[in-house]
């Protein structure tokens, strides 16, 4: 742009083109502008949104966990009373065990399959888009749609969809969501199906960064296919694998939609999770203090887990 009129944000008057002194002066204004008001104006959206909806609520949550509040009566400072109340609630113990059980099952079912699938898909030439598309389709399904559909699949009668399929092999009928012992594994099965595609894509992205000459070098050194996979492919995945492990644990600890829509926490509280309990405290009982106290406890546990995980894996990753 030939003239300075195109610089409204800096407030430089038009026609300041010409003498070197004035040009230098304009540069100085611009530089000051970068550090002054214009930069602040551009930072406003991120500042406002993060203040209101991210930093603010975190601080407010920490404060609220020490208060008694139901939005009607005046706010009361109660110290650690909420934490005592929450820790004495027998349902919290049950929910913690249920959540840990879910996480364990999710790791057993859900962790190895995407890794193996991605390793296999990365060896395909041509047509691999067909495989990735198919693997990603469940991820596209909105969770509510998937859950309502699977709730039908899990029909406990012998003519239910899954029971009919298993019936062909002479198995079942299984009660699926109707029995306290199989309800949680059924939920894990659906959640695994719904999430596996995402993990496959992330592993595949990591595998494409493995340089071909590493495989060639290994091959020249006489490494067979199995050893190439073990010594070249897997070490490359290690960082992502560890990270996905952590993300999966943190994610499954916050499970909510599935137990709410599948079973509502039943049968016999076998699928009550910590987040479902937080939801009930806050939005069913109106006890916001107890809800935030439990949230803070969960967040602390997750933070401790992440920190321990970082410490433990630092040694492996720098090896």
């Amino acid at each position: 742009m030939p003239t300075a009129t195109t610089a409204p944000a800096t407030g430089v008057p038009a026609g300041s083109r010409g003498a070197g002194v004035r040009r230098r002066a304009r540069w100085a204004t611009l530089r000051r502008a970068r550090h002054g008001v214009p930069a602040l104006v551009f930072a406003l959206p991120v500042l406002i949104v993060f203040l209101l909806f991210s930093w603010g609520p975190v601080v407010r949550g920490l404060v609220m966990s020490l208060q008694k509040t139901n939005l009607v009566d005046p706010v009361l400072w109660v110290g650690l009373e909420n934490f005592r109340y929450v820790l004495q609630d027998p349902l919290v113990g049950q929910a913690t065990l249920n959540t840990l059980w879910f996480t364990l099952l999710a790791l057993l079912f859900g962790f190895p399959v995407p890794v193996l699938l991605a390793m296999f898909l990365s060896e395909l030439r041509g047509r691999s888009w067909l495989y990735t598309t198919l693997a990603y389709l469940p991820v596209i399904m909105p969770p509510v749609v998937a859950i309502l559909l699977w709730r039908f699949f899990y029909d406990p009668s012998s003519s239910g969809l899954f029971n009919s399929i298993l019936g062909v092999f002479g198995l079942g009928p299984f009660p699926w969501l109707d029995s306290p012992s199989s309800a949680m594994p059924s939920i894990v099965l659906e959640a695994t199906w719904a999430g596996a595609g995402n993990a496959v894509i992330i592993y595949l992205a990591a595998l494409t960064s493995v340089r071909a000459d590493l495989y060639e070098a290994a091959e020249l050194d006489g490494a067979g296919i199995v050893r190439r996979i073990w010594h070249v492919m897997l070490p490359h995945l290690r960082g992502v694998l560890l990270l996905m492990l952590l993300l999966q644990v943190v994610g499954t600890m916050q499970l909510f939609t599935e137990p709410l829509l599948f079973t509502g926490g039943g049968p016999q509280n076998s699928t009550v999770t910590i987040l479902l309990l937080i939801y009930n405290y806050a939005f069913v009982n109106g006890d916001y203090g107890a809800a935030t106290a439990l949230s803070v406890l969960l967040a602390l546990a997750l933070a401790a887990l992440s920190a321990a995980f970082q410490l433990a894996t630092r040694r492996w990753s720098t090896e």
Binding site: M1, T3, A7, P8, T10, V12, L30, R34, P38, A39, F42, A43, P45, V46, V49, F50, L52, F53, S54, P57, R60, L117, E123, R125, L130, T133, L137, P138, I140, M141, P142, V144, V145, L148, L149, F152, F153, S159, L161, S164, I165, I202, Y203, A206, A212, Y215, E216, I225, V240, L243, M244, L247, T257, Y279, A282, F283, Y288, T292, S295, L302
Partner: protein
């Protein structure tokens, strides 16, 4: 992936029958498994959406055992369940979420990557820190914030702002956009400044057009995540006239007959699947990116 690249298997490996035969068998098995797990539920839902209830309940594996195809299920679900109306709400919510996210991450990226004020480091650390705080701590206080905003004391519940704005505070989006802006050669900005372009003009005429690909990825990711969201709209949009399809479906499911319910599920699924098939490349790239950033 181009044909010249290689993985653990070399070209010579692939020619050996010892390797080729199990590899081909593996491909068939994996493809069959993916067809059943990925496409199976979709196809079954399509079939059930146009079947009488009794067919789906009594013989879920058979193809139209009573010989009747009820196309009218789809129309009934559309009208009785107001599926079209709820899909409209969902689209408004998704579009607004994407717009809010784009404004926040594009301007933030510009400040952090191009303008680089002295306090930029502090801002980016504060944004990054939120990646490490589990969302769960802030669920309840976030709800109370939306119920009564600080300073202005506005109540955002039952307005679309309640679902548009909070997801915009997404550190991951800010981070990928900033990284993309970092990759734009600095000479461009200097040249533009020498030509007399101001801060705003550099942003609108230079940075935004250059960063269309990454902004597209951010828009897609926020559209899909808002389309899938359930808990948050359930909490803040209690007025049924504003609710998205995800909140409406469980309620519809309670009061309608099974064949109509399944038809409704199918209708709710068509748009995300179509979007995915059209923008497949960008989708998968976005997900891959997220893995790269998190790692």
């Amino acid at each position: 992936m181009s044909a010249t690249e290689r993985g653990a298997l070399s070209v010579t490996d692939r020619r050996q029958p010892r390797v080729r035969v199990p590899f081909v068998i593996g491909q068939v098995v994996v493809l069959a498994g993916l067809l059943v797990a990925g496409l199976g539920p979709l196809l079954w839902l399509l079939k059930a959406a146009i079947s009488p209830t009794q067919d789906s309940v009594r013989k879920p594996l058979a193809l139209f055992p009573s010989g009747e195809i009820q196309w009218q299920n789809l129309a009934t679900a559309w009208q009785q369940g107001h599926i079209g109306y709820y899909l409209g709400n969902t689209a408004i919510i998704a579009a607004g979420t994407a717009a809010a996210s784009l404004v926040v991450c594009a301007t933030a990226g510009y400040v952090l990557s191009v303008l680089r004020p002295r306090w930029g480091g502090l801002l980016s650390a504060a944004v990054l820190a939120t990646l490490f705080v589990p969302h769960i701590v802030s669920l309840v206080p976030l709800y109370l914030t939306v119920l009564e905003l600080p300073v202005t004391h506005t109540n955002l519940t039952n307005t679309f702002w309640a679902v548009w704005l909070p997801p915009a505070a997404n550190a991951f989006n800010v981070l990928i956009v900033k990284r993309f802006f970092d990759g734009i050669p600095r000479e461009y900005f200097e040249a533009a400044r020498i030509d007399g372009a101001g801060t705003l003009r550099v942003f609108t005429a230079l940075v935004l057009p250059l960063s269309r690909p990454i902004l597209g990825v951010v828009a897609l990711l926020s559209i899909i995540s808002s389309w899938k969201d359930y808990l948050w709209p359930l909490l803040v949009l209690t007025n049924p006239d504003l609710q998205p399809i995800s909140v409406a479906l469980p309620k519809i499911a309670k009061v309608t007959e099974l064949n109509i319910q399944l038809a409704g599920l199918f209708l709710a699924l068509v748009i995300p699947v179509a979007l995915f098939l059209v923008f497949q490349r960008a989708f998968l790239r976005g997900v891959g990116l997220s893995g790269g950033i998190k790692a």
